[in-house]
Symmetry: C2
Subunit: 405 residues, 2 copies
């Protein structure tokens, strides 16, 4: 495939990849028990801890999609008939709840809303009686289906205050490596994500982080873990061995992808996570300004402070017909840009989604975002939507190339 054929991928994951990430992926075979690979896996575990802001967290990186992360958290930290509070912000919260229920966990989920009010969570926590306290509280930092960004820091603070024994779990699939996050400082107990979003490598790895409190809870289980592949008893000794640069075996790791992800995290850490987050925030702000100013469109999240910086969920113009909506992504694709349709079942046909994260943001590839805006502009025009042409100065504002890349 020549690079001319390539349409840039601006969906909320998988994303575009740095050339070094792809080059690492295609390195020749390396044994999963070789000292070189073990050293690289060990380094990746440390780098992942740095990206998530933890010194003493227990990292876990397993072959599988991000979805597997829910299994690992629910099946290991909870036992049958434990209670979980799922703070529902969209499609992925629904799935997380279903995963919990599979393991016999009693799920209490709030109604999905554009934003989650702290007062509502407070009410839920106070309703929980002493013996019915939540074992697990599940928060999705950015729900990929709605682009809602939750205030994880405040939610965690409130939960730790009102329900200190509850374990706080964060789904960071569409946020880690792009949004502000501090595992230790925010007192998070279990965090999960995948390789293919803002962490910048192809899909195929589930990444998790556990606090000491969650490991203690796991160690104090009175019933066996109800799954084999997702059982922490099988994985923790392996991660310990890798951390100590010793060989160990439970299942063959995805050697090429582990190395590729490590290349990506090294690029991120070289720029600095604080800078990476700032670049995502600035980029998203500029992107949203143009969507409002030039396209006069509205976002699914209702307030500025709960809009994700890694993707945007944008309502189609009201006057756009069903037929025009169906054709919209195809029109954008004609400009060699791939964006995504709506995902949340209640409003699926009413909006589209644009990913703006990872390499396209921090890799000096701001032309990806510019090309995307131009493609959307053209498609809106062709759909008969009146737009205010995007100004040259608006495009130029995206050209703040990071010096380190």
């Amino acid at each position: 495939m020549s690079s001319n054929d390539h349409s840039i991928l601006m969906i909320p994951g998988p994303t575009e990849y740095h050339p070094d990430v792809l080059a690492t992926l295609a390195l020749p075979s390396l044994s999963h028990t070789s000292p070189q690979f073990i050293a690289e896996f060990s380094e990746l575990l440390e780098n992942f801890k740095r990206v998530l802001g933890t010194k003493n967290g227990q990292p876990l990186i397993v072959s599988g999609s991000g979805t597997l992360g829910w299994d690992i958290i629910a099946a290991n930290l909870c036992e049958k008939n434990d209670r979980a509070l799922v703070i529902n912000t969209g499609y992925f919260s629904d799935s997380y709840a279903t995963c919990c229920e599979t393991y016999g966990i009693k799920v209490c989920a709030n109604q999905i809303g554009a934003s989650v009010e702290l007062s509502e969570i407070e009410k839920k926590l106070k309703e929980a009686t002493a013996d019915g306290v939540y074992k697990l509280i599940c928060i999705t930092q950015v729900d990929t289906s709605t682009a809602v960004l939750n205030d994880v820091k405040s939610i965690s603070q409130l939960c730790k205050q009102l329900s200190p024994t509850s374990l706080i779990s964060v789904d960071g699939v569409c946020s880690f490596g792009g949004e502000r996050f501090a595992f230790d400082d925010w007192k998070i107990d279990a965090a999960m994500t995948c390789s293919q979003k803002a962490l910048g490598a192809p899909p195929g790895l589930a990444l998790l982080m556990f606090s000491q409190q969650s490991i203690d809870t796991f160690r104090q289980r009175t019933t066996p873990v109800p799954t084999y592949y997702a059982n922490l008893n099988n994985w923790l000794p392996i991660m310990d061995a890798y951390a100590n640069r010793k060989p160990s075996y439970f299942a063959t790791p995805n050697v090429n992808l582990i190395r590729s992800l490590n290349t990506s995290l090294k690029l991120l850490l070289d720029i600095g996570i604080e800078n990476i987050v700032r670049l995502h925030e600035e980029n998203a702000q500029k992107f949203r300004n143009i969507v409002i100013k030039s396209f006069d469109l509205k976002f699914v999240p209702t307030t500025d402070k709960n809009m994700a910086n890694t993707l945007s969920a944008i309502y189609y113009p009201k006057e756009m017909t069903d037929e025009q909506r169906t054709k919209f992504l195809g029109l954008v694709k004609e400009s060699q840009v791939v964006i995504a349709g709506g995902l949340h079942k209640k409003i699926k046909t009413e909006y589209f989604r644009v990913g703006h994260m990872g390499y396209s943001v921090w890799g000096g590839q701001q032309q990806h975002v510019v090309q995307t805006l131009k493609a959307i502009e053209k498609a809106l025009k062709e759909s008969g939507h009146k737009i205010n042409e995007i100004g040259k100065e608006d495009f130029l504002s995206f050209s703040c190339k990071t010096s380190k890349i």
Copy 2:
């Protein structure tokens, strides 16, 4: 990394990869819901069916290591208190049994032996009373820890005759794509493997195949499937959608690896599975002849007919000291060849393993095997073992390059 630094990987998986397989892996991003990717996934499902010799099997390809395949079979085809017979040939049979037990399945395993006698299986099947019949019979075609090749065809025939309702499951991790196998003709109900052995792509995918009988058994469950990520209810609609070239979503597939594996299977099918198997058999026979004739060493499998063609497990010379054994793999590595140590706990320090499968066998890369034999020869010499130098004509016998590659 320059190719000069590369040590060839002759362990029983991961293996060496065809350059096209690595090049496909490093192609730029492609959306997991794009028509192009869906068509490629659909093609891969068909190609996998062809490799396994099935017309009506239900394929399933999931992000995860091969180990996950056991979960998918055990958790979906069995219910709590069902009985399973694990025909034990080594380390991996032990793990399969543990996986079954995790899901509350009562496991009856035979004692590990160099070979599994049909008469022993017959006895086990006849002992099973009418209401205690085995729901699942687990066979490992080639146990990677011992290099024992089981006669799956005869075992399946016997089981189907004496216990027709039992589902026959085959672990083909170290055999599919290298050993003779016929899913339909041998009446197999569930088969599992991974991407990184004789199928010729990097690790990261669990591949499974189900017969109609096993899908029927699954549909007739009276209890819920006890896992989320490994639940067939979540995956079968996705595989149906891909087969019919329609988009669908449960978890993001490993796009790059799916495409890479498809490249590898297309290479295999272009040569023809019958030819691929024959090349593995011929190559293994020549390899073993030299091990016997020049090195005077013995194999872990005790008879010719139960020796795998994808790898060899070779006992160290008896006179070799523990210290020499510990250093042996390092000596081989000095010749830029990586082989593996023993794995089965009972005899771990007494033998070493050499993978000879996949690209190194069918890719016109017979120099991999020659280089490996030379490396072992040199290491044996340096360990003080008396050898009969390998003859030039023996090396030349490996030069039967396949015409199609």
